[in-house]
Symmetry: C2
Subunit: 186 residues, 2 copies
């Protein structure tokens, strides 16, 4: 009985974790769409200086990882476990793929890819046992499926933060004396 | 002729500045709505520790400033100039106004107030001469209408950054070894 209770409790936690992560993963692309679609290029092409990314390049990065990172790595965990390390991911692929696609098309692409990936993730109906399965990151070592999904969601938020920061900094001079109050500028 | 060219150029700059600022001001509340509406409270009530704000409290702050800060201060600049200092703004009013309003209602309120304010701002049809008008900030001293509007837009982005950061940090532990790669966590 104790055994059953524990299993049930752990199962609920897994469901909660998945629901909470899916809630972020479903919303961030929509938030980025609401923020960036049809925004003047002065904002979407701005960056923080040499070697830093513009909002457009961040969207390219999110699209690339939607194809090669999150779900492919989950598949490797579920099928092979830690015996087969993940393929390394190119975090700068979007910088070489400057194919001149309009940002609106890129936002559509992100939304479509994310929708497909979340549909597949939901269909897997992962329980705690599967969330605890391990994989091997080529640099970080052993990680779990749960950590991978948490990172997918946190990575979305991290890049939302980056995009907001890049755009805010564009107005550092324009805000005049107020820049002192805006810690994002510093 | 030189005079005319200069005037025309400066006018265009003012229009561009206004268009670019309005583009941000119109989109950030929609982006926050897309991010936060119906999100589990575990996300919207999270904060970064004692004395820090949750996403819900940030939305309360944005609502409060929509009523007492940006347009009222612009009105003071346009009507009185630097002779009449702005009224000080309470940046923590939202922390005392815990009236238990659902976040969805607060998001609606922000959207409505912002829509009304931007409608009025557009109707003012400010040119460069008006954008250069001065006002007096109670602590920062002389500021211009242009700096006020730039700060309104940058302030939106700064709080979008804050909300993304607060929520990302909630998953610091959950991301396991990956937290090392996510600078937003540190």
């Amino acid at each position: 009985m104790q055994q059953l209770r524990t299993a049930s409790y752990t199962g609920l936690m897994g469901t909660l974790f998945l629901d909470e992560s899916l809630a972020i993963l479903a919303r961030v692309p929509a938030a980025l769409d609401a923020l960036l679609r049809d925004l003047p290029e002065a904002w979407t092409e701005a960056n923080e200086g040499p070697g830093t990314w513009s909002p457009r390049e961040v969207i390219g990065h999110l699209i690339h990882l939607e194809k090669v990172d999150w779900m492919p790595r989950l598949d490797i965990i579920l099928q092979y476990g830690p015996g087969r390390p993940f393929d390394p991911v190119d975090r700068e692929a979007q910088l070489r793929e400057r194919d001149g696609k309009p940002l609106a098309v890129m936002l559509d692409e992100l939304s479509t890819l994310r929708g497909e990936n979340l549909k597949r993730l939901r269909a897997l109906n992962l329980g705690d046992e599967q969330l605890d399965l391990e994989g091997r990151h080529p640099a970080l070592g052993v990680v779990t499926a749960r950590q991978l999904l948490a990172t997918w969601a946190a990575h979305d938020l991290a890049h939302l933060v980056q995009i907001g920061r890049v755009m805010a900094k564009r107005y550092r001079h324009e805000t005049g004396p107020w820049a002192e109050y805006l810690t994002v500028m510093h």
